[in-house]
Amino acid sequence: MKILVTVKRVPDPETVIKIGPDGAGIVTDNVKWVINPFDEIAIEEALRIKEKVSGTEVVLVSIGQKTSQEQLRTGLAMGADRAILVLTDASLEPLAVARVLQKVADGEKPDVILMGKQAIDDDSNCAGQMLAELLGWPQATFASKVELGGDQKSVKVTREVDGGLETDAMPLPAVITADLRLNEPRYASLPGIMKARKKELKEISVADLGVDVAPKVKIVKLETPPKRTGGRKVASVQELVQVLHNEAKVI
């Protein structure tokens, strides 16, 4: 079977984000860039399926500038087979991302598309659901367990929803988005890194795909939220209870 996994280049989650002087984006100097953590979980899940189902091919796809090669190489070093980079200088909104991915999926014809549930930069949590709709495929978001059917024609997915865990079954092809507890991603091994250099990384441009990526949503401005300032330290549990009761009046 073939699994397509999406990979987004994002600032490291521990980065302190600052808005740039033009107010249109963030300061990217000295930012460490990583694979979106949820995408890393998606890659790991694809690799685990590959280890179980012989003949499985794992194809990575990213959309962005040439610099995204770095994250794709990391994914290849983890064990993916090849990668596609769709080049664009624009920052695409989720629906445009889904349209680009739809074209890629039309060409690749994967059985499963694995994605992170959200990218930790724009925090939209939309692209996977949109892609499933555009393809007319079923979706299983927020996955914490993926069980492939014996015939590899269906999948059972346990999903992290409000108040518990929901399990849904669906035929393949399907779009699955990974939540935190799905797995713990592996690190790339040294031999993996060596091998990754020789793996195929194909570049195409958004223009080549002939997709309409014109924005429907425009960012008008970016602001820094008001900073919450700390209060004071209390010396004891007794003092804490006393201030919460008499001063803050919350208990």
Partner: protein, 321 residues
Amino acid sequence: MGNVLVVAEHQHGKFPKTTLAGLAAGKQLAGLVGGKCIGVVLGQGVDALANELAEYGVDVVAVDDAKLAHYLADAYTNALAELVKQKGADAVVATATAMGKDLLPRLAARLGAGMASDVTGIVDASTFKRLMWAGNVIATVKVEATPRVVSVRATAFDAAAKDGAKGTVETAALGGGETKVQFVEFAETKSDRPVLTEASIVVSGGRGLKNGENFGTYLEPLCDALGAAMGASRAAVDAGFVPNDLQVGQTGKVVAPTLYIAVGISGAIQHLAGMKDSKVIVAINKDEEAPIFQIADYGLVADLFKAVPELTEEVKKLKGA
């Protein structure tokens, strides 16, 4: 044109507070658009719910169908897309719960709509505020195409009240249509404590708790003494101490209770994104350099394994007095 549809999620025959926050956002948007706010209740046997929703002063459409008994993204998308056409809707609003997050992007793609997700403020009929980069940036975004699809953050809107004249209730003859997904089961997390997103007091534990058992031994008695919901940091979920359902943060739940007590939580950026709008924040941590103290109203530098049982006893004394 100009109507705003609000998808009213229900659980156990009730509308949770999160739904009422979404309804308030829908009413506000309808006012700005100059149209009507219409509540939509989807499910099986939802007459009573539809009638209750109308008491919030909105007209209600009930979509009653066996195929909608369990929420499934594709079936709900079919029904809602049809309803958007029938009602000439300009916008569809729902709260960004697990269901809202799953459903609205799919609907937006079906409609070719512009979408703003997890919105924290409505500026005008087409302009919204939302947070990016773990709450470190507030973006003002203009959704230029209609229809617009908007998911809203529950903590950013006050729950709608039962006011105004009771709205009308109609039943739409729309099926769920084709669905490729089969609902298998729902394993509910049973708890007598308040729901995390509704509680006025939340006590959260972090990696400092050391293991899952300690959540039961130390945190649960404090939660019970305070009538609080229990939460956790991503680090505690990552370490397998507690289920992900308890996670507070950028990639978990966003809460804004009156009192938030962070126990053994260092205060990573992604955790703060989920709780920094709480009214009063208390931090208990043995590391006085922990970043959580920079935003806590009251900080106690202490060993949680001593301080938490003591706090539980003090709270019990206070409540007993």
